[in-house]
Symmetry: C2
Subunit: 216 residues, 2 copies
């Protein structure tokens, strides 16, 4: 297809497509004649993904480029490709300054993360950036006096485990690239879905508890 | 306490404190003598909250100001104050452009949100911005071909309900202001915690499924 059709089908304006190609986020089209460049469904799929990463996931162009190159550069063995791809995309979507600022992270909270992972029997690579992210978030919470946080953390971990299993259901089909892309979309879009649902559930649960209050 | 001690105890540099006071995020100190302004624990608590909103929650100064004024301006009846405070802070931390861009939202997904809320028996005010947020995220997911999404959405909603109940446990004590502040902190910090836990749980669950694969 021509770039105009690609734009219509993806909802991404032509100048933005050209920008993404220039930035290496979307592969260049194939020149079929002088002044004519052709795109296919692979371009369309990649374009939709990049748009989702940037507009829905709120990623910077640099982060989106890291995600995309993680998808493009994978080992040949399917299982290794899947795990490597997952790891690389998780790394790519993490905050770029991960691990840089030790002031934002108490040693106690870092230990708490390790303890949680071991209690749950989770197998996590040492470089998964979410270890650091979690320690930072717990540190910030502790400094704000977020009480009851051990029980709370356990509930969060239960919920996260539930969502992770649901995300994996039906996701590991097709090529490793397809599985990684599917899980990545579920991670990023799922964050947004989960945040919105939490707020809705919180309002409803608060109303229920207040109206059930016997002192009413 | 003097501004230097406030800075030491909050970890916020003096010029940043002055900026927050100027921007109306933190109330001004009380002038006790010429050239001497005094701050108390209320200032310290508010400062920690503002820092968390901006640095951990990633809110803009304008959004943080909306949250803070929601906390400062509440009705006298405790229950009304609590629900109004919750609603206002949820509104304040939502994306500012909520509802603005109907192109980002399919009518089908909006109906799906309403259906989900009614199936779950959730009581949600019509203006909770997370309705729109959820419809937008679902629309983006559908456009990216996020399959199996009804079962997936149900798992997400189960997880969100679990977290919401855990957030409310022990949160509704003290004054309405304190409850709202506590729930707000749990919402914002909890988003970060939950995102990190999802990524950890996803890695572990993927490893478990791949090693349990009988074709191995």
């Amino acid at each position: 297809m021509r770039i105009g059709e690609l734009s219509d089908r993806s909802g991404v304006p032509v100048p933005t497509i050209k920008f993404y190609v220039r930035e290496g986020l979307v592969p260049a089209g194939v020149r079929t004649q002088v002044n004519q460049v052709s795109y296919d469904d692979r371009h369309l799929g990649r374009l939709r993904l990049v748009r989702a990463l940037i507009q829905v996931g709120g990623l910077s162009v640099a982060s989106a480029r890291r995600v995309v190159s993680a998808l493009d550069d994978q080992p040949a063995d399917p299982k290794a490709a899947l795990l490597t791809g997952l790891g690389k995309t998780q790394y790519a979507i993490a905050e770029p300054e991960v691990g840089a600022d030790s002031q934002d992270m108490d040693a106690l909270e870092t230990q708490r993360v390790d303890r949680l992972i071991s209690h749950r029997g989770w197998t996590i690579g040492p470089h998964n950036p979410s270890r650091v992210e979690l320690a930072k978030a717990l540190t910030a919470g502790a400094r704000l006096g977020m009480e009851g946080s051990d029980a709370l953390l356990d509930s969060y971990a239960d919920a996260a485990g539930m969502v992770a299993e649901a995300d994996l259901d039906g996701a590991l089909t097709g090529s490793p690239e397809e599985s990684v892309e599917r899980l990545l979309i579920r991670l990023i879009i799922g964050d947004r879905i989960l945040m919105a649902l939490r707020r809705l559930a919180q309002e409803s649960a608060a109303r229920a508890r207040l109206s059930a209050d016997p002192s009413e």
